[in-house]
Symmetry: C2
Subunit: 219 residues, 2 copies
């Protein structure tokens, strides 16, 4: 019975996400859905990505948080349009929350929409929002056992950004194991090793994203 | 409609958790529910707690994971009885999952039951399991903004263990802000600063837990 309820919710969400996707295609908006555990560096990666690409494309951000506007405030300070979704307790954002946020954006003037999910390595992976790509962040202090313990997130994502590599000397993180176990659940996963704090490795991630946006615009 | 569904699930869970609690009281078992983001150090804290207290009381562990038995294997290596719950995708353990795990334990021979939840700073806070106390871990690399962003977890918990204080020189973590914001949502919160890696500060946490188990046994 419980499974049935969940299935119905997911089916309804998939339909709304598909409608969002049609709208994004019509407006020419490339959308990424950024997900991770709390504190792995989602907002930091979003900030670095905006700084690197805001002169090339028009960027907007949807920030998903249980409450408050801390992350939207951080991102808006970079001069891009930021909309805050407060989920009011829900542990993820879904297609309908994104749909309801869209009237606050002028999609005719957006090339790249970055959506930052609630910090959670489990539930967000189940809910499509109409994105072109799911991007997940694993930070080194979390440990290399996460792909094996939370496989759906790694399976659903196009990209794994391994963040906080500046902390590698101080934490027990087996980089080779993290890569191997993530690729075991998703052989097509793109992997980038970065430090949002020092800037190390970010060019790989930025290059990948720029290539995807470019290909989408030339589709 | 959606809110109603969630409410019914939580009500049903509360009933089962209360039944678990009655059984634990009858058998004289003190129960803690250990929660945190993925990789904050739940299993490490459980290991240190077992090592410190296993000669004083009979300890059993229930490990909650989406899949696999890595954590139960780590804990069983310390010579205590460990039962693994695989939630099969669910982002938390609930009262019914714990109830179904109990036949694997001889509760007449258990004084302290440590339950380790799925790594998630959101959903586990909503689901009682019949515990005496919820214990949450915040690790320094996650950042000090977490109490304000995920308040329910801090509200519901009796204890906040701030783990990975050995990383303080390398991460931007405002200890005073984390304490202040956590106490703002829960003024009764007990706070301990520890490093499960170096052992620093663990005596405060162990002393608190030992005092609670003692008081429960003398009730």
């Amino acid at each position: 019975m419980k499974v049935t309820v969940v299935r119905n919710i997911l089916d309804a969400n998939d339909r709304i996400a598909a409608e969002n996707r049609l709208l994004f295609d019509e407006k020419g908006v490339y959308v990424i859905n950024v997900m991770s555990s709390p504190g792995a560096g989602k907002t930091s990666l979003v900030e670095k990505t905006i700084t690197a690409l805001k002169d090339r494309w028009r960027i907007a951000v949807i920030e998903g948080d249980i409450q408050n506007t801390y992350d939207a405030d951080r991102v808006a300070a970079l001069g891009v349009c930021a909309v805050q979704i407060n989920t009011g307790g829900a542990c993820h954002i879904d297609g309908n929350m994104v749909r309801e946020a869209l009237p606050a954006l002028d999609l005719d003037r957006v090339d790249l929409l970055i959506t930052e999910n609630v910090g959670n390595l489990v539930c967000p992976a189940e809910f499509k929002i109409g994105e072109n790509a799911k991007v997940m962040i694993l930070s080194t202090p979390e440990g290399a056992d996460k792909p094996a313990k939370y496989p759906l997130m790694f399976q659903e994502s196009s990209v794994m950004v391994i963040n906080k590599i500046d902390l590698l000397p101080y934490v027990d993180f087996d980089l080779a194991k993290a890569r191997r176990d993530a690729l075991a659940v998703n052989p097509g996963l793109e992997i980038f090793e970065v430090s949002c704090k020092t800037g190390q490795g970010l060019e790989g991630w930025i290059g990948w994203l720029a290539g995807r946006v470019e290909a989408f615009r030339n589709r």
